[in-house]
Symmetry: C2
């Protein structure tokens, strides 16, 4: 199964404005990840379950660029596939390696092969949107942070329309964890 | 207690584009209210509880303008206060009356007085944002519809920053009902 794992603010931003290597979550955006860096016991359980379930990661070039210094490793200790036009040799890290793949669908295929029975996680605004559009995503795991950010990078932009089904929710102090199945890409016109 | 009662799509829209009297929820936006017009038993219970708890309504002029033909009454069977610069005489409807008040704070005061022990509901994008900014809102009851709309009117716009606490969640087929306490208006800078 491939799932997108995204934290957004209540006004829909997955990062604050002015993302850089120094501010990989943008200005003020680091608070979005309080559930990861200041976890409650329930958050810890969710993080642990995610680490146990993930077998490979697909991430965008921008996420790789801004995240690498912070992780100082692959984002999860599993093979990680960076979608980028500028391909290069694999980069060996402490836990696993980054591979650079020119095309999203190819990256997803290679990630599924590497993950075996485990899940593939997709990370990054652009690749997540592209993967939803290409109907490659099985689940959207949305952590809804209980505040507004005011500006930044949105998860959903433009006219793409998707239908989901909420499977379960879990409230922790720093996020409401929502698990959605992707039902379909387009909303059919009403009869 | 005053609460905002808002349905938004997963990409943050509380109505589709091109709102008019004919399309009060905008193009494609009527789906947002499937939980009201095609309710599951759980939705029905939430609707029933809301009707039982509400003692007065504060609504924006635009919501009044586009909603009146559809309701053919007040939106709930209780005194309803329309915030508008163009004040006029009260309008008697089947269940209750509309009063037209020049100022949001005054409308909220009159609504609380009319509601007595019951709650006041605020309706409409603009007045909800203004009321949040003025720290008049105690709870945000958000119905998160499980689809993206792509365009329309957003609940949250601009730079206003609010902090909430998620009190509970309830999944129904057409919405995930999230109840948030308003914690504060501004996010303090990090120490």
């Amino acid at each position: 199964m491939l799932y997108a794992h995204v934290t957004i603010s209540l006004d829909g931003f997955m990062a604050g404005p002015d993302i850089s290597r120094e501010l990989p979550m943008g200005a003020g955006g680091e608070r979005l990840h309080d559930w990861i860096f200041d976890p409650s016991p329930a958050d810890r359980e969710i993080i642990f379950d995610t680490f146990a379930a993930v077998g490979a990661v697909v991430l965008g070039r921008r996420t790789f660029d801004v995240g690498l210094d912070q992780w100082n490793d692959t984002p999860y200790p599993v093979p990680s596939f960076v979608v980028t036009h500028r391909t290069r040799d694999d980069l060996e890290m402490r836990s696993a390696s980054f591979s650079f793949v020119g095309d999203l669908a190819a990256a997803v295929r290679r990630a599924h092969a590497a993950a075996g029975e485990k899940h593939v996680i997709i990370m990054g605004a652009d690749v997540t949107r592209q993967a939803l559009k290409a109907e490659l995503v099985d689940e959207l795991r949305l952590q809804l942070a209980p505040f507004t950010l005011g500006s930044g990078t949105r998860l959903f932009t433009g006219a793409d329309r998707h239908v989901f089904e909420c499977l379960d929710t879990r409230i922790t102090p720093h996020a409401t964890h929502l698990r959605y199945r992707v039902v379909c890409q387009r909303i059919a016109p009403r009869a």
